[in-house]
Symmetry: C2
Subunit: 351 residues, 2 copies
């Protein structure tokens, strides 16, 4: 017996497209292992949607459309040009909303309204969208609490690199004393190119842009704002406090020079952009800043687009996790994991 889990996918960019391909690829395996029968009931993006009242979306055709780059409303037999996300969330029955519209750090929209609409209807939400989570701390959680819907955010907190899960599941029962993380692949790529290949900051940034690793406007990454958002999401949950972006003392990497990198190297250190949270008594110190790590530090060897996070605990010592694919597929895999977690409590039960 398997439970059908019908998703509405909101956002058909790289991650949304990767998610529907992943559903097609993983459907049989997830059913066999976890008793979950995945379906995509609707996909909606800025220009419209695809859905039908009488049937789920065909995964073959959806995967083809995803790979083609064409907009979702052009899907034969299913396309609905002009359909709006809030209407789709209201009108198309779903068990889970997969919210993957772009992160907006000003007011969190449109993701904020999408997620609230779903949660208020008792529809679970999994999301890669940091915006509403950091702009209105606690707001989505309150809506989830109100209806009993579930909200999971792995894809917004470093995606295929597990962060919250390691601390809350793998270290259940231990107390987290501090966190240090390399949470942004773009800045780590730039710093690694400078350290490993003697590039200047400007050269390394340009290379990252040429390779599609950095945006044309790289400020969200290089000013430390992406790292800050992830840190706030992780730390607020692990330390059980309501935190805002303003709680984090934030410095990016734009001031890092070759001379600084070389100086660190001479001291057998390597400069990394570190997001950290440390308990000092009852106070929680939150910081994003370049730090010169000793080469023996467990994050020192995390290079190029890789990410990593290290937790110091009271009873398990220090636990560090690194890696996780930085790609739309990696983010989609984190969304899928969160869907599985909400349904498959048997995962915790046996050896």
């Amino acid at each position: 017996m398997s439970e059908t889990v019908r998703t509405t996918v909101c956002g058909f960019g790289h991650v949304g497209r990767a998610f529907v391909r992943l559903v097609r690829h993983k459907r049989a395996d997830v059913e066999r292992r976890h008793g979950i029968s995945l379906a995509v009931g609707a996909v909606v993006d800025l220009g419209g949607a695809a859905f039908r009242e009488d049937t789920d979306l065909p995964l073959e055709g959806l995967a083809r459309l995803s790979a083609s780059g064409r907009p979702i409303e052009s899907m034969p037999d299913f396309g609905r040009p002009g359909a709006r996300a809030l209407d789709v969330i209201r009108d198309v029955p779903a068990d889970v909303l997969v919210e993957v519209t772009p992160t907006n750090l000003v007011d969190g929209e449109p993701g904020r309204s999408h997620m609230i609409a779903a949660l208020d209807r008792g529809i679970d939400v999994v999301t890669a969208n940091k915006g509403p989570l950091v702009v209105s701390p606690g707001e989505l959680e309150a809506h989830a609490g109100g209806s009993g819907a579930r909200l999971r955010i792995s894809a917004a907190t470093a995606a295929a690199l597990p962060t919250l899960d390691v601390a809350r599941l793998c270290a259940a029962g231990a107390r987290i004393l501090s966190i240090e993380g390399i949470l942004n692949g773009t800045t780590n790529y730039i710093l690694s190119r400078m350290d490993r290949e003697g590039r200047s900051y400007e050269e390394a940034l340009r290379e990252a842009q040429d390779q599609g690793i950095a945006e044309a406007d790289p400020s969200l990454d290089v000013d430390g704002l992406d790292t800050r958002s992830k840190l706030v999401l992780i730390a607020s949950r692990l330390f059980e406090r309501t935190l805002t972006l303003e709680d984090v003392d934030t410095v990016g990497i734009t001031g890092i020079t070759r001379a600084g990198i070389d100086d660190a190297r001479r001291r057998d250190r390597v400069i990394k952009l570190i997001g950290s949270a440390r308990l000092r008594g009852d106070e929680l110190l939150l910081r994003v800043a370049p730090e010169a790590l000793e080469r023996s530090h467990p994050l020192a060897a995390v290079d190029f687009s890789e990410k990593g996070i290290s937790f110091d605990t009271d009873t398990m010592g220090r636990i560090t996790v690194t890696g996780g694919k930085s790609s739309p597929t990696g983010a989609a895999a984190a969304l899928l994991k969160d869907i599985i977690h909400t349904r498959a409590s048997a995962l915790l039960q046996n050896a």
Copy 2:
């Protein structure tokens, strides 16, 4: 409302003693966070037991006894000299058996009989004891399946370093393609002393013995047998196959010389004892052997008594976890985690 979870602790060596201290230390926190009220109903060791029909063991007194090193049957008001483990498991009501008697790789006893007695009565088992798990693959799982009791083995699979949990929970939905692990702290300590401090194998082994890191008879560690046991436990679960110790091609570190270490160093490599499992088509290749890792390998910087494991996956890329305290407290924390997991499915539910 909290659920009382009454444990019987079988084995009062370093790990059993650390566990009862941990219960006292963590009781309030586990109740607040997870709604689990932990109690110790009985402790039993070779010379006898401590329990009473009318009440749980007092955690203060138990912690004092634990720290003193005195045997469990000497506990005032509760001691039962000569009481036998199987009788205690049968007669003292319990929700969870914490089985931490020494690992026996010949016939798995006495842990095997203890765990079977508990599982057949529907008592959940958490254990640090690899013996019965690897000597009779699948046997304990069958007993658990028969009664619906739960069996969890984090403490037997590298303890405070999460291994199975990372693959099964943090990477749920991803397929594991291969595993590589530094699963034994003693051999890693010896190899690190040779690499970092120019010691010969014999010198490094002696230092490890002097520090209590290696046993007087170090063969279980240095011959790769401990690594092999952990590899079998991890790989059989992640690849869903019944595996035996004989399935693993095993070489230890006794043949490693300074010359070999130096040669690796010249090639910018470092020798580590690696337990690995790799899918080749349908075949699973299992191996324990010293390998010369490139310095950029995510396990290359795991030094001294630290452990680490790296999973290559289909959709999340490579995920590596390192650290975790190698100590009785670390093992006890893994046992506590497993108890929490069996009761707190809410852990998976929300952000």
